[in-house]
Assembly symmetry: C2
Homo-oligomer: 158 residues x 2
């Protein structure tokens, strides 16, 4: 796909735009960076009377980086809203197994984190600011965990 077309997909067609919005100029910059890093190869498709299209294709390195990325859960809660939901977007387009494994891996990470949070919360003065922050985090992680579980239940499982 060339940059222009890709941008159209991202702003119109795709559901991905719900979680990941990018301006045109930023996308172009991103594409050249991805090429520099060897994830994309680019060929020019000249047209008469229009600027030539840069057709970008995933290199083998690019494809395997993508595959790896989309199987890896995110380490921190703050990456969930954007990055993890993007992973889910792509994982759903692969087989259901990929999605299931992603969800389970993420659940596992959050289970551990939740336990840690609960632990430190217990050590804190319940009237302190710290306690209030930890209490908030516990709530957020719990919400993410129930969402993960519900999604696993809904999806036409493996």
């Amino acid at each position: 796909m060339h940059g222009y077309e890709l941008h159209q997909h991202l702003t119109e067609t795709t559901g991905l735009r719900l979680v990941w919005r990018i301006k045109q100029s930023q996308l172009y910059a991103l594409l050249t960076r991805l090429e520099e890093r060897g994830y994309l190869s680019t060929t020019l498709e000249t047209q008469e009377a229009r600027p030539p299209r840069k057709i970008h294709t995933l290199t083998p390195a690019g494809r395997s980086a993508l595959e790896a990325w989309l199987r890896t859960p995110v380490p921190r809660g703050r990456d969930f809203r954007l990055e993890f939901l993007a992973k889910v977007y792509f994982a759903r387009q692969q087989d259901q197994t990929t999605l299931h494994e992603l969800l389970t891996a993420q659940e596992c990470i959050f289970d551990k984190w939740l336990a840690e949070l609960q632990n430190t919360l217990d050590t804190l003065d319940p009237t302190s600011y710290e306690a209030l922050v930890y209490h908030f985090r516990v709530g957020q992680v719990q919400a993410m965990l129930t969402w993960l579980k519900e999604l696993k239940a809904i999806e036409p499982g493996k």
Copy 2:
């Protein structure tokens, strides 16, 4: 306070560092920006054999901007984790009324947002990616709302 001291407070003493971490160089940059915008006034305190301290004081404009900021709820959920929790940090140092009003205002905004989310969720194909994203958001907002309510109940409220 001068920049160095402020940075020490932010990395050691304060509970604020739980939600808001800043590198030294970034803090200095921020302070000069705040001065440029008229929120801080700066005086030099020369010492022998040490670089002079820049003592920063809130201008009236700065103080009132702070007051306004800390009474204003955040418009979007993604600003909650960092910005809203910071507001709570400062609001707790004022009288309890300020905190209570902040919490209530935020609750009000999220109530409306939740209703909107529920509405659009109903119109969506439940197997679509969009539905899944909205479902997630509903969960997050609900978690924030219960946290807000619990905090209101706990604080020695007016």
